[in-house]
Structures are given as C-alpha cells and as structure tokens.
C-alpha cells in the first residue's frame, strides 16, 4: 500500500469522477441524445491556428471529435453526445493536460442560446444528483446555480473589467493576455457566467450573427474563473467554412506549422447540415469544480509525468 499512496489518496476524487460520468450519461440519454464514438486518429483535423495536434503514423490524434460528430449530425443523427479523449500538443498546466477528456454534444434545430439553457440544466442535474442542491462551494466561494445564469458579451466584459474595447485589444495584439489576466478571473464567481458573442476572427467554425457579421455566435461557460465549455451556433455554409479554413491554414503554414490536408468529407457534409449547435466541455475541469480541486492533476489517476 505504501508505494501506491499517491494513487490511494485520489480515491475519493476518482469515485466522484466516475459518478459525474454516470450522471452525464443519464442526463443526455434521458433527453433523447444518442451516445456515439468517433475515431481518435483522423487524417485531417480542423485547421485552428492555436491548436497543435499530435502526429501519429502520418495521421493526427484528434484535438476534438468535432468534425466527425458534425458529419453524423448532417447525416440525420439529430441529437448526439460523446465522451472521449482528446490530444493537444504542448498544452500542460494547472488546467491543461496534453491528453484530456472532452464531453461534446450537438443538436439540430438549435442555436447557442439553447445550449446555454442546456448547460444550466446539466450542471443543476449534476448538483442535485451529487447532493449539492442549488449551490457549489469552490475555492472558498459559493457559486449559486439558480437559473438563469449571468450572460455577458465579450464586448461588455472588456469594457467592464478591462476598461478597454475589444477592438483596441485586437489592434494592440493583446486580446488573449487581457482576457486571461483581467477578465477570466472575474467570471463565474457568484454564479456561472456565459461569455458570448466573440469577434469573427475567434470562431472559425461558428456562424456569424445575422445582425452583425463581425461577431460570431459563440459562448464560453465559466465557473470559478475557469473556462469549462465552448459552444457555437454551427457554421453551415460550406463555402464560408472552406474560406475560413483556408485562412487558418495559411496562417499555420506561414508560422512554420505542419500542413493539414483539407477535411473534404466534413466540408462536403456541411451542405446537408441544417441549423444546429454544438458544445465541447472539459470533463476534467468539471470534476475540478465539483471536487474543489485547484490542479487538473488532482482529478486524473495518472498525469503524464507520473507514468
């Protein structure tokens, strides 16, 4: 027992993790979602400039199951979810593991506002099943869960917390720095927060707003200052998607990153993808919230350095 003490110490958290997984499945199955599995190893990931993939046998370990899931959605599977491992090169920190667990779900005939409500219901379901009632204690703070939760646009959050406009931040090339240092720590403290409506450049698979083409229908869910989930109203215009991918791929190549082939079957499937919305939620971070853990290593049995 002595040598495995560090694993034994995690028992309570790993049991909680297993319960959360079980309750997630219960929630989605009760709502008519179909659990599906898609391959981890894919020939062509979505070209996103800031996500580096791991190469394996000339293919790529998927950084997210997004493309395959949308192909299923386009083929008429109208409510689907998946819990799977995703891989992102170089991502390692208190909230990042290069191999982590993602929960993704997709719906036809829905937009990002519907997903905000579904997030509220999902977290409330977990809290109830885990006997937490309508509040979670996290890092010495009580996060109230009564819906509706706070919704704030990226634009308003920059003005409120950073006294800076989004345009100024983008022009000054400091959007990410300002977001992480001055805005994120304030989000989801007393209740979860939806940060929504991102600049077009920051949502390469999201649909632009009808009334403002400079903004995409994307949101991030925050709890206790931590980003938990990212959602879009899906971009279903194949031509526009092809154009945006080409732009990202061009940026990637100019930065000396390995080229990706275009994900043709995905692009083709967009032609039959009607209005829909999808979301990716970091399961490890969700467990961190419920376990009140400060470090992602605390909620998995084996961080890579321990192998």
């Amino acid at each position: 027992m002595d040598g495995s003490w560090f694993l034994a110490k995690k028992q309570r958290t790993l049991r909680l993790r297993a319960r959360i997984l079980q309750e997630l499945r219960n929630f989605f199955i009760a709502r008519g979602y179909l659990e599906i599995e898609t391959p981890c190893l894919i020939p062509a990931p979505a070209p996103e400039f800031h996500i580096d993939t791991m190469i394996c046998q000339g293919w790529f370990l998927h950084p997210s199951p997004e493309l395959c899931m949308k192909r299923l959605l386009a083929a008429g599977y109208d409510k689907i979810f998946q819990i799977c491992r995703c891989f992102r090169h170089h991502e390692r920190g208190a909230r990042h593991l290069p191999e982590f667990t993602m929960l993704e779900w997709y719906r036809r005939d829905a937009d990002y506002r519907d997903l905000m409500e579904e997030c509220e219901d999902l977290i409330l379901h977990l809290a109830a099943e885990l006997d937490r009632g309508n509040a979670i204690c996290c890092q010495g703070q009580v996060i109230r869960l009564q819906k509706p939760w706070e919704r704030i646009t990226v634009h308003a959050a920059f003005e409120k917390y950073a006294s800076l406009s989004v345009e100024e931040a983008l022009d000054g090339d400091c959007f990410d720095e300002v977001l992480t240092a001055r805005i994120e720590p304030n989000l989801g403290k007393e209740e979860p927060t939806f940060l929504y409506d991102y600049p077009l450049a920051l949502g390469s698979l999201a649909r632009a707003k009808k009334e403002n083409a400079a903004v995409v229908e994307r949101f991030e869910l925050y709890m206790a200052g931590m980003e938990l989930a990212n959602a879009f109203t899906e971009l279903t215009d194949a031509e526009e998607q092809r154009h945006r991918f080409a732009k990202e791929e061009d940026k990637r190549r100019r930065a000396g990153k390995p080229p990706y082939p275009a994900p043709e079957p995905f692009l083709k499937s967009l032609e039959s993808l009607g209005d829909s919305a999808g979301i990716a939620l970091g399961l490890d971070r969700l467990v961190m919230i419920f376990a009140d853990a400060l470090h992602i290593d605390d909620v998995v049995a084996f961080p890579p350095e321990t192998l």
Binding site: D2, A8, Q11, R12, A94, R95, D176, E177, G203, N230
Partner: protein, 187 residues
C-alpha cells in the same frame, strides 16, 4: 536556446545579461486562443521579483552558471556553511540562497552550489533524502482509511504530511523538489 514551452519552475534563463530563475510558472490558454506562459521571475543576483507573460514564439538563452560539488558542513546564526570538494575552501550561504533546501540539509551531505562569477546563488541536493522522524503523533489504530494524513517533524525540523502509520524514529524518503513524503525506508 529555450522555447517558451520549455519554461518551467526553477528553469534558469538569461535576460539583459543577468541570470533569472522561474519561481512560479503557469500555462494559460484561453479557448481558441494562444498559449501564454505566465512566469514569476527572480533575478538571481538582486533577488528582485516580477511577473512576465511570454508567448510561444519567445525564445530564451540559458543562464551561464557554474555548479560546484560541495559538502554541507553546518549552520550557524542563519548562515549555511559549505566546503568545496576540490579546493576545500569554505563558503557561507544565506537562508535565502539556500531556500527550501534547508528543510533537508543534514551534515556532510553532497550538494551542488550554484555560482555566477564566483558568487554563490543557490544550492541543490539529491532529489530524494532519507530523514529520521523526530516527532509524530501515535497511530490511532482505528484510522486505517487510505488517503488520510498526519503531520510529522523530521530531524531537520521540517514538518510534512505523511500516512498515519509512520511513527517516531522511523526513516522516511522525501522528494526534495516537492517537499512531499514518498515512502517509508527500512535500514
């Protein structure tokens, strides 16, 4: 050269011709955004600390420091005396320069003293040290739940959390990089 993704706690880099050590390191990455490396840096000569956020395109020169094998002799009035294994010269380090390592210093152990132009900056010792427990509450027999801990004091005065079955007089192995208990040692 180091890339930003090489940054980690205790890495030593050179900026403006002065050696710096990363004292705190945080990888942050907003969704769909770029990787940011938020560091607390300490000037290894002046001790001045500041925070700096780097991007993945940033590169760094390693700090050109010298490491000398020395033996730890004794502590007196908050100064720690080390002897050079080759020249037998003795030098004194301050508590600040010794840092957390003082939690594991027992007489005559091997250490590597870090020098920048002959000025001592810091000291490192083996990753694992075996230390005798000098104070521990007795093991309450009913307490067999795995994962429980209790505090004990070791011979250097350092207090750490260990499993409840560890008793006074036993030797335990401590990871000097994290300060955490690893295992019980039987002589």
């Amino acid at each position: 050269m180091y890339a930003a993704s090489d940054l980690r706690k205790n890495l030593r880099i050179k900026m403006d011709n002065e050696p710096y050590i990363v004292t705190e390191f945080n990888f942050v990455k907003p969704g769909k955004g770029q990787a940011l490396y938020r560091c607390k840096l300490k000037n290894m000569i002046s001790g001045a600390q500041f925070e700096r956020t780097f991007r993945s395109v940033d590169v760094f020169e390693p700090a050109d420091l010298q490491e000398k094998k020395m033996q730890y002799l004794y502590e007196q009035d908050g100064k720690y005396c080390f002897m050079d294994n080759e020249s037998y010269e003795q030098i004194l380090l301050t508590a600040d320069q010794v840092g957390d390592v003082r939690n594991y210093l027992i007489e005559n152990i091997e250490a590597e003293v870090l020098l920048f132009e002959d000025r001592p900056l810091g000291v490192t010792i083996a990753n694992f040290m075996d230390l005798v427990v000098t104070k521990a509450d007795p093991w309450a027999r009913g307490d067999s739940v795995s994962g429980n801990t209790k505090p004990v004091t070791v011979e250097t005065g350092y207090v750490l959390q260990v499993p409840p079955f560890i008793e006074e007089g036993e030797k335990i192995r401590v990871d000097t990089r994290t300060g955490e208990y690893l295992t019980r040692v039987k002589d």
